[in-house]
């Protein structure tokens, strides 16, 4: 269990500014909890590679191939049915099912990857025990940082964050 400082801010501008100062002071940027995505924070945190789109692409293509393969197998090999001399492998008419099911499976794969990468479901988390945390989903911005040197710096760091406009600063387990 690491212990980090959790600073609470009431508006986005101060929050982003504090994150910038903390980073300049070589704090370790642990995480940020915000009521909506704050793009301005991208300087502070790594962009972390995400495999969501790759998973969606692979899932979609595989499903489309599977669907077309099924159509081909049933329409050409297992159950060829001559309907007015139309070709058994009627690819223009066969396109819709691979397209629709491919998109569906791409979405499902994307959702599964999203859950995995976001660490969900995770119904019980130590952060939920903190009073102020409930407002991170509503109207408060929380910044979790760790001062560069472990021991004595914490009170000073808390003071600095408060000076930057933090409403509250507390030490929490993460």
């Amino acid at each position: 269990m690491t212990r980090v400082l959790l600073a609470e801010f009431a508006d986005q501008r101060r929050f982003v500014e504090a994150a910038r100062r903390a980073r300049d002071a070589r704090y370790r940027m642990v995480d940020a909890y915000t009521p909506y995505p704050v793009e301005e924070l991208s300087f502070a945190f790594d962009h972390g590679r995400s495999k969501i789109r790759l998973a969606m692409f692979i899932g979609g293509v595989l499903m489309a191939a599977l669907a077309y393969g099924l159509e081909y197998y049933s329409g050409v090999i297992d159950y060829p049915y001559d309907s007015g001399g139309r070709p058994f492998d009627a690819w223009p008419a066969f396109m819709l099912v691979p397209f629709a099911t491919g998109i569906l499976l791409a979405a499902i794969c994307g959702f599964a990857t999203f859950l995995f990468e976001a660490g969900l479901p995770h119904l019980s988390h130590p952060l939920f025990a903190i009073n102020t945390f409930a407002r991170a989903s509503q109207d408060r911005f929380l910044l979790a940082v760790e001062p560069p040197h472990e021991d004595d710096d914490r009170p000073a760091a808390a003071e600095m964050l408060a000076g930057l406009g933090a409403i509250s600063v507390r030490e929490v387990e993460r």
Binding site: D11, Q12, R13, D31, A32, Y33, T34, P35, Y36, P37, F45, H47, G48, S50, I52, R53, M56, G60, L70, E71, S74, G75, D78, Y79, S83, R86, A90, A93, F94, L96, V97, F99, A100, T101, I103, L104, A106, A107, I108, G110, F111, T113, F114, L115, E117, A118, G119, L120, P121, H122, L123, S124, L127, F133, A134, R135, A136, S137, Q138, D139
Partner: protein, 461 residues
């Protein structure tokens, strides 16, 4: 006329444009959206109960009709040996059209950075889901032998038969199934951060557990928002082609036949625009109702009705152009049956309905040229109801006109609806209304986190 609405730089910012001052803080947005769900006792739900009661009765009528259709067969409807598709298929096309607009609003407007979608996309997506669900019922009950509907699925069976992949019925099955499941997923992903906010706002244990379970433990961390945005955007990119393909397939149900008035290459795009048109009209109606019922004047402003009316005006013009193209092609193609069909449309048995269709879909929406009408909620609501009636008439007449007046004059017959046709039509409205009313009492009707972002952008920095 383009659908993208560009904003000149000197105009007020996005926040000022799409919200009223009383909604311009994060907490104000949360309070407006969450209060009806979490502070039930302070809300009067009388109008809701009246609406719910009516919708229950209509749903019961719908179920009774379906029972009778299963019990006695589709002969209880007005379908006959010539007009083999009746109201059920027209209702299906109408509902699936309405079911298109939610995804259009969510995906296409997201990709085009139209910020006003933030306060309408949630219930538009819900509308999509419920309309597509209602639509999916119709082809099944219209099957002569609905007990065998599962034969549409490919599965190894003792009969050694497979589905006919060249059949439009199979395309429908896969298109609707994929679309409904995709829509549920897209909707749910957008809801997760809002469920978390509801979980954190709930005062009592029951709602906290309910919303907490649905929120999956969302914390709004940097990483979670990052992957959320990636997924949401990617789903929006996939949603646009899927929704376009869905109604194109419905258009091809007709265009892949050999009938006069149906076998036209214009059908897929013409159906997609028509779907967007009726769907937007339904979204505007629901916006007006949600705005009134939940006192959301600060979040759903007259500016929203203004832009939706502009989209509908563009669609009305495209619809008029499509109708004219059909008439021109019938004349220019020189085919006797096609020309005769157009004459039948204008002067035949269903002519009054056809003129009403043109009035509702093309003429009346021209009122949206006037800014005063676009900004009047009552006027937009009334015109949108008329557009929906017009679009329903269009779906009806596409079927009745062609089937009543095809190549063989000796087979010409008229469709006369029975009481069960009307029961299934109005009953489906009841089922839709019931699902929508349950939705507004359980799930936040406006996407809080997207409106919060919109509001935050307007704060002085």
């Amino acid at each position: 006329m383009t659908l993208a609405i560009t904003i000149p730089a000197e105009q007020p910012g996005e926040t000022e444009r799409w919200t009223l001052p009383e909604a311009r803080s994060l907490e104000a947005v949360n309070a407006i959206v969450a209060a009806p769900l979490l502070e039930r006792s302070s809300w009067r739900w009388r109008a809701w109960w009246i609406g719910f009661g009516i919708s229950l009765v209509m749903t019961a009528a719908f179920l009774l009709t379906i029972f009778l259709v299963f019990y006695r067969g589709i002969g209880i409807w007005g379908v006959n040996s010539t007009v083999v598709w009746g109201l059920a298929i027209a209702d299906y096309v109408w509902w699936i059209g309405i079911g298109n607009a939610g995804t259009l609003i969510s995906s296409m407007l997201l990709l085009m950075r139209q910020k006003w979608r933030a306060s309408t996309n949630r219930f538009a997506e819900a509308m999509t889901l419920f309309a597509a669900t209602v639509a999916g019922i119709f082809p099944i009950i219209h099957l002569g032998r609905p007990i065998y509907f599962y034969w549409l699925t490919p599965y190894p069976n003792t009969m050694h038969v497979w589905p006919q992949w060249r059949s439009a019925l199979i395309w429908d099955f896969w298109a609707i199934l994929s679309y409904i499941l995709f829509s549920i997923l897209f909707w749910y992903v957008g809801l997760i951060p809002d469920f978390a906010a509801m979980r954190d706002r709930a005062q009592s244990r029951g709602p906290a557990l309910f919303y907490g379970a649905l929120a999956l433990g969302w914390r709004g961390s940097w990483r979670q928002w990052q992957v959320y945005e990636r997924l949401h955007l990617a789903l929006a990119c996939l949603g646009v082609p899927l929704v376009v393909s869905l109604h194109s397939v419905v258009g091809m149900d007709f265009a892949a036949s050999l009938m006069p008035g149906w076998q036209e290459t214009i059908f897929p795009p013409y159906f997609v625009v028509g779907a967007m048109y009726s769907g937007f009209a339904m979204v505007a109606c629901l916006s007006a109702l949600v705005r009134w019922g939940f006192r959301m004047e600060a979040l759903i402003t007259t500016a929203h009705f203004d832009v939706m009316a502009k989209v509908m005006l563009a669609a009305a013009i495209i619809m008029g152009l499509s109708y004219a193209t059909e008439w021109f092609n019938a004349w220019y193609g020189g085919e006797r049956a096609d020309r005769s069909l157009v004459a039948f449309e204008f002067a035949g048995h269903y002519a009054p309905m056809f003129w009403a269709l043109l009035l509702c879909n093309v003429v009346i929406p021209q009122a949206f040229w006037w800014p005063g009408i676009r900004r009047s909620v009552v006027a937009v609501f009334v015109i949108c109801i008329l557009i929906n009636i017009g679009m329903w008439l269009e779906r009806i007449l596409i079927i009745w006109n062609t089937l009543s007046h095809d190549y063989l004059p000796s087979a010409w017959r008229i469709f006369l609806p029975t009481i069960w046709d009307w029961m299934v039509t109005f009953g489906s409205l009841g089922l839709f209304a019931m699902m929508f009313l349950i939705f507004v009492r359980v799930i936040p009707v406006v996407s809080m986190h997207e409106v919060r972002k919109l509001v935050a952008e307007g704060e002085p920095s």
